[in-house]
């Protein structure tokens, strides 16, 4: 298979509007990945599937990822007026980098037996703009996996034929795999004799917990 930079050049030529970026992988020996913007995601996936040199027809794995908002501190030199004269001072700026939800696709090719090609797409933020294109029109294997990501992360896949929760029940409100998910206080568990769980249990199951 061609290298990722080569592929990126080819993709950039084919889709001049697409925003492509190579995301380096810190772990040596493991492949880097290609980040493509949501708007051209479906087109790029179609290219990967139909291109004669790639023929990535097997979408093996679709993974959701949650990246929280990050606070980045930055030192900047600014000019300030101090006792009538202008001096330069260092100022520490705190910037909030908005988090996003990410979906990672692992493609393989069954006729050419190469892979994986790792493609990523990111949502704009974690709250209200969590739309990504669905790859189900191209790859049926994404059907349940995208439903699972919608269920556990809250990514909304536009174009998915049947976007319902997969593992949690209908009517469940939150997305449990998000990093800031707090489990409800009264979820079902067995009281244990020690620690925080017991305290919770005492509140909800006073009679059973008393035996501990």
């Amino acid at each position: 298979m061609e290298t990722l930079p080569q592929l990126k050049t080819r993709l950039a030529a084919a889709f001049p509007k697409a925003r492509l970026e190579i995301v380096p992988n810190g772990s040596p020996g493991n492949p880097d990945s290609l980040w493509v913007d949501a708007a051209s995601g479906l087109k790029v996936a179609g290219f990967l599937k139909n291109d004669a040199a790639l023929q990535l027809d097997f979408l093996s794995n679709v993974t959701g990822l949650d990246w929280l908002d990050k606070t980045v501190t930055e030192k900047v030199r600014v000019k300030r007026e101090f006792k009538g004269q202008e001096i330069e001072v260092d100022e520490i700026l705190e910037k909030i980098v908005p988090g996003y939800l990410e979906v990672v696709y692992h493609f393989y090719s069954t006729p050419l037996r190469h892979g994986p090609l790792v493609l990523r797409m990111r949502t704009e933020n974690r709250t209200d703009r969590t739309h990504l294109p669905s790859l189900v029109p191209l790859y049926r294997s994404a059907e349940f996996q995208e439903r699972e990501i919608y269920d556990l992360y809250g990514v909304i896949f536009d174009g998915h034929p049947d976007l319902r929760r997969l593992l949690m029940w209908e009517g469940f409100a939150d997305h449990p795999m998000r990093k800031d998910y707090c489990e409800p206080d009264d979820y079902e568990y067995e009281p244990t004799p020690h620690g925080a769980l017991l305290e919770k249990a005492r509140r909800h199951y006073p009679r059973e917990a008393a035996h501990g």
């Binding site: 992988n25 810190g26 772990s27 040596p28 020996g29 493991n30 990945s33 027809d57 097997f58 979408l59 093996s60 794995n61 993974t63 959701g64 990822l65 990672v104 692992h106 069954t110 037996r113 994986p116 790792v118 790859y139 049926r140 294997s141 994404a142 059907e143 349940f144 996996q145 556990l152 319902r164 929760r165 997969l166 593992l167 949690m168 029940w169 209908e170 009517g171 449990p176 795999m177």
Partner: protein
Amino acid sequence: MVDFAQPENAFKPGLPGAAEPACRVVPKYSDQGEREGDWLEISMGPQHPSTHGVFRMDLVLEGETVIRLKPVFGYLHRNHEKIAEQTTYLSSMPYTDRLDYFCSMTNNWAYALAVEKLAGLQVPERAEYIRIITAELTRLQNHACLMGFLMQDLGAMGTPLMYAFREREKILDLFEALSGARMMCNYMRFGGCRIDLPPGWLEQTRRLVADFPRFLDEFEALLTGNEIVMARLQGVGALSRELAINAGISGPMLRASGVNYDIRKVDQYGIYNRFEFRVPLGAHGDCYDRFMLRLLEMRESLRILEPALKDIPSGPIIDARAKLRNFKPRPGEAYGRIEAPKGELGFYLVSDGSANPYRYRVRPPSLINLTILEDLCLGQKVADVVIILGSVDIVLGEVDR
């Protein structure tokens, strides 16, 4: 044809656990608006002997023909991935046993492989041999049981399943002698295996491998020529080659549809490149092909086991750089996959440099192989749904995670 866009016919997935009737009669109207008859909407499962666990299918039947099927998951969901993100890398290892609880050894291997890729660990020669031996033994017992269960679904009550379990028992005894547990082995470690083989284990395994063809012959004589088996399995639930690839089907199901794609051959993980074995392929992709393919795969597994048991070298069983406590791989990500008995089992790990994985994802072959369940079942009889599901080979511990 029923118009499911109409609100009264809309498909309403029920709440898991909610008290609702197991079946419902949906009136069927002709184009002129006259009532022609009824459809029957059946909730098959979650407590149903043929669903191999707590799995539910909402079926709509016309007479006995399936016109709609929606699988409903989540009855065994325990958020395995979230648990793994909250514990250390090592602590997730025993949880992987519980994914596909028939094949804990291959689950261990897939996870260990992903972590080894992430941390750059090398597996010693002897450990690679042990891994291949245990993985192929796992494949033997999984396929034997699957065929037993499939026959049970067909109505061959007991006999084939008991024969399969008799053989499985011997393999589980070997696992117990090796790892201490029959099903929840928790045997592999990052960079090798936990303990060395106990004395006499190889000899016992060699005897088992030598005896196993007798069981296969017996099984073949019992079932493959049986006219009832052929009538029930042939031509039922045919899966085309294109759909199989497109839907990400893997393992014996993919190969039964004629796609030559075995990860043992493609990735050559471990030391599979040293062994000669053939990849059986199906021609029709129906239930009979899936059944026969597993039988042939067991024979190929024996072909791997024989030289592996002969050539196994002595030496260390774990990478000296691997450590149990304070295991913190560099930030990065890795995807490790193996050919598990059910299909492609992959683990995708993202590390942020801490002791816990930032993201731990299991690619469950059982779940993804169910993608095409509706396509296979449409137009078939309701009794065939049971067989098709049986031939897909699912374990709910892995489907729901």
